[in-house]
């Protein structure tokens, strides 16, 4: 395997890590949908830490190896339309991920605070935070943008 093959393999592995993170987050969101007991919520959010690691590897890996690949392969240029589209979508995904994270991290932090205060009774407030429409919308948009990046990467329009 040459350098290009390695770059492509690492780029694709990073993309898989990104999608895997979204699957992990989706599992946590769906599993947490009906939870109201703080300790149950804390337990569920432990799983999302793996998603945090996967999304970091995925986003950093795709951008680093993607740009390196574009520079390495003669047929690609960083200013190709499909590469610029992917870079813009990557930035949009980063912004959406940040906002989604704020919504769900607030719910997690509230659950941790309640447990630490010894208040482990069902909390309607916590349930409402977990069923936040904003969180679902941001997550849905993140999935759509990720799918769009995948489509751009495979179809390479204009290449």
């Amino acid at each position: 395997m040459g350098l290009t093959d390695w770059l492509l393999a690492l780029h694709v592995l990073a993309a898989f890590s990104w999608v895997a993170a979204l699957v992990v987050y989706t599992v946590v969101i769906v599993a947490g949908w009906r939870l109201t007991v703080p300790s149950d919520v804390v337990r569920m959010f432990r799983v999302s830490r793996v998603g945090d690691a996967l999304i970091a590897v995925g986003m950093l890996g795709t951008i680093i190896f993607g740009i390196w690949l574009a520079l390495d392969v003669d047929g690609y240029q960083l200013w190709d339309g499909w590469i610029i589209t992917a870079l813009v979508l990557w930035l949009v995904a980063g912004a959406l991920g940040g906002r989604e994270g704020k919504v769900y991290n607030a719910a997690r932090d509230r659950a941790v605070a309640l447990v630490n205060e010894g208040r482990d009774a069902p909390s309607p407030e916590l349930g409402a935070m977990l069923r936040s429409q904003r969180g679902v919308v941001f997550h849905g948009l993140m999935v759509v943008v990720t799918l769009a990046i995948l489509v751009v990467m495979i179809y390479k329009p204009g290449a």
Binding site: M1, L8, V12, L13, V19, V23, V24, L54, L150, A159
Partner: protein
């Protein structure tokens, strides 16, 4: 460059294959993580929810994703003329072995995780732990196998 040599009508099956494979990997990682959390705990209030979530993730996400990955793989392989090669390349062999062997392991893992979660739930965490632990080992092995398969399919080593 790769796009230039790939006909347009290969793109859709490839998209489905990649989507199925990446969702499968994510589901396996989620399931393995929850199972590993269950492994390290004793209280039934911790073990049972993790075991149940793991089974549901494998059953409702990993199994459909495996079918999407595998059927789309056959579609793209057919389009690329890879189904009737006299000597298949290494990367394709790795893909077939992990897809089909992994499918059997996935099925066993789902069955064990399901029975284990049910027994744990009914016995208040007393029985079913061994089954869940075997399912955990299988899920972790599957994650490793599919990461290697992804590397092989993308890098295409000789």
């Amino acid at each position: 460059m790769l796009a230039a040599i790939r006909p347009d009508d290969w793109n859709f099956p490839l998209l489905l294959h990649v989507l199925g494979a990446s969702i499968l990997l994510g589901a396996l990682i989620a399931a393995a993580t929850t199972q590993l959390f269950a492994w390290g705990r004793r209280a039934p209030t911790d073990v049972v929810p993790y075991a149940r979530l793991s089974f549901r993730t494998l059953f409702f996400v990993a199994i459909p994703a495996w079918f999407l990955m595998r059927l789309a793989a056959e579609w793209i392989a057919d389009k690329e003329g890879l189904t009737d090669l006299d000597e298949e390349p290494t990367w394709l062999g790795i893909g077939y072995i992990t897809a089909e062997g992994g499918g059997i392991l996935l099925l066993i893992s789902v069955i064990l995780a399901g029975i284990g979660a049910r027994r744990l739930s009914r016995s208040n965490g007393e029985r079913g732990e061994i089954l869940v632990r075997i399912a955990t080992v299988l899920a972790v092995l599957l994650v490793i196998a599919y990461v290697i398969a992804t590397w092989a399919m993308a890098g295409k080593p000789d």
